[in-house]
Amino acid sequence: MSIMESLFGEAADNQFLQNLHVLPVFLDIAMVICCFNLLCYLYRVVKGPALADRAVAMDSCGVTVMSLIVIYSIRQGTNLYMSCALVIAILGFIGMVGLSKYIQSGNIVDTGNIVLNLEEAEYLKDKENAEAGEELQRKAEEARQKTAENIVDVVKRQQNQQDRDNN
């Protein structure tokens, strides 16, 4: 009769575990150690100076909860709880990736100017230069047209003045 068996009354239904003598003792030891680990991780979550400390400690809390699920499912004699362990693993990884992006750049989905590699950066630079060159050419053409119109106006005025003088 182990100590935890009195706390979890459902374990008395597991007939296979009741015939064993070594495994329940180690189950108790592992459960006590895992609870101590949870306390250590929670200490780091509360105290940790950086956000990265808290993130890693919370991910490790998830892993320790997975190990507690393993112990509890051995004690109950069923494999229904293992899906919960798998879901906790997947959610922990996704949370780690999102938190790392958040720590590094301040937002998770970065929609700013991302320079992927040097070739793309050079291509973007050339494209900007080409657009700037097109704008300059357009302005120069407009200026030329305006000066040409002005010249035409001046010539017309001079002709008009010459006509008036002749008259």
Binding site: I33, A52, N79, F93, L118
Partner: protein, 122 residues
């Protein structure tokens, strides 16, 4: 034979708990963010591998059958936990968390300087 499998499962559980305990001691005792991540990345990965092996052997042995969820979570944790730890450490480095004053080597700093020199034009 039954006692042999029982002892194997018990030792796997104990080893897993001890690896997790090593991670927990490391996260309390180590002086630096990167040292703590180092302890946790190794400890949690190895501990959960031991736990999942133990429960797989136990389910096959006790007649419940082969539990695919435990094998899947073993493979997934073994692949994803080091990747997540590396990503968090790299993000913390680029965020500017300082190294411990007793650290003797910083290779990533030189690489970052090279990258900055390459990207200085843009």
């Amino acid at each position: 034979m039954s006692l042999f499998i029982e002892i194997i499962v018990s030792l796997l559980l104990l080893f897993g708990a001890i690896f997790l305990l090593g991670g927990a001691v490391g996260i309390i005792r180590f002086p630096d963010t990167y040292c703590r991540m180092h302890a946790l990345g190794k400890g949690t990965t190895m501990g959960i591998i031991c736990f999942m092996l133990a429960i797989t052997i136990y389910f096959v042995w006790s007649g419940i059958g082969l539990c695919m969820q435990s094998i899947l979570s073993l493979v997934f944790i073994a692949v994803s936990a080091p990747i997540g730890s590396h990503m968090i450490a790299k993000a913390a480095y680029h965020y500017g968390i300082p190294l411990w004053k007793g650290s003797v080597r910083d290779d990533l700093k030189e690489d970052c300087e090279f990258i900055r020199e390459d990207n200085a034009d843009f």
